[in-house]
Symmetry: C2
Subunit: 237 residues, 2 copies
């Protein structure tokens, strides 16, 4: 947690109040805060400020804003990823948000176990977003969309995301073209499930405008491939 994210309603008077239990616990356990200390605070979907702590009680921390700070820019990327195992979902969303992905799409695929769509973790996406924003020092949540059917998404939605200045790449171990790097324009990237997309899915993605690219001959786990690919694609930014 590198900023404390507040709801705009908590910042409407001159003195702002942190009252969420999770945030108070973090401040007390990890930061050993004192009155007079400064604290970085973000207003959800708004600006970011350096603040001063003016009062600490059991149930709240009161703050006075000192000066505005810069909200980090997003990476101009839509991350389209086969819905991972529930255990991996939290980390994947949190990481994607932390790295500044603009839009996240969770997609069904042949090798995604159908039970994954029933996990209660899918009800927690907003919480994972918040953790990712607080880690990054960001205030603006990316959009998250869920598509439970592969074919309608690839045929009807995906082509609308692709243009000359915004290509889409699908990571595929058997592709001949290597994944590009140091892009100077936005793009979409498509990451398959554990075990990969099946040939029918790769063909349908290519038919609908995706470029199949390889990431070398090491097979990375989804949650490792995503930061590796983002570091590579946006290395020049």
């Amino acid at each position: 947690m590198n900023i404390v994210l507040l709801d705009p309603r908590q910042t409407q008077s001159e003195i702002w109040t942190i009252s969420a239990k999770r945030q108070l616990e973090h401040l007390q356990t990890h930061l050993d805060i004192q009155v007079g200390d400064t604290l970085k605070v973000g207003i959800r979907e708004g600006k970011r400020y350096l603040t001063e702590i003016v009062e600490i009680s059991e149930t709240s921390v009161q703050l006075k804003p000192l000066q505005e700070e810069t909200v980090p820019e997003k990476l101009p990327v839509t991350l389209i990823v086969a819905l991972p195992r529930p255990k991996v979902l939290r980390r994947l969303i949190m990481d994607a948000v932390t790295m500044g992905v603009e839009k996240i799409i969770l997609l069904h695929s042949y090798r995604v176990d159908k039970s994954y769509w029933q996990t209660p973790f899918l009800q927690q996406l907003d919480h994972y977003l918040e953790l990712g924003l607080e880690q990054a020092g960001d205030t603006i949540a990316p959009e998250i969309a869920l598509y439970k059917r592969f074919k309608p998404f690839v045929e009807d939605v995906l082509p609308g995301l692709i243009s000359t200045n915004c290509p889409a790449f699908v990571a595929h171990p058997y592709a001949e073209q290597p994944m590009p790097f140091a892009l100077q324009h936005p793009c979409s990237i498509v990451i398959g499930p554990e075990g990969g997309f099946i040939p029918y899915e790769i063909d349908l993605l290519i038919k609908n405008g995706c470029q199949a690219v390889n990431l070398g001959n090491r097979i990375l786990r989804t949650e490792t491939a995503i930061p590796y690919v983002l570091g590579r694609l946006f290395s020049a930014s």
Copy 2:
């Protein structure tokens, strides 16, 4: 698990035998193997083969090697990282091995809790290596070294790792120079603990030949920063 890693002693006759419980369980649960199927197998510290399954029993799977396959190349990098929380250690080692890091150094630092050096997970490093190699399809374990004292490492060991053709970079949010990308030569990278290195540590690293570089204005968790940095540094390979 994208290959099954065997000890050289298991591959001395014409027919090879998988008998480790973890590997048998994986094959039975995830791959639904049958006699006649092919299976990718690596010999630890040796070559990699495509094999054919010739017999399956409760306690073993017997294989016949068919043809040699290529072992993926390593990334020419030494990863020097402040010892993370035990929970993160497994994933960090496994990921670094999967991505092909040549040498891993776990280092003490002011913000590393001393108790982390007592974790039983540090006795499991060889197991995490094995998981990382099996994920990547690699057979050659990287070297892992542990340094429980920061200053002697930085003053006595680090300078020996640095040369004109092999610089060392420390990721530091306040550095002006951005992290380079698409390197054509080997390097070392130094990644701090949660909360970062303290100024004294950064100064000592710089004094001993490290270049401080920033990764943009988002603060990534250690385990996210490592693949992000490796994807960036070695994007041209």
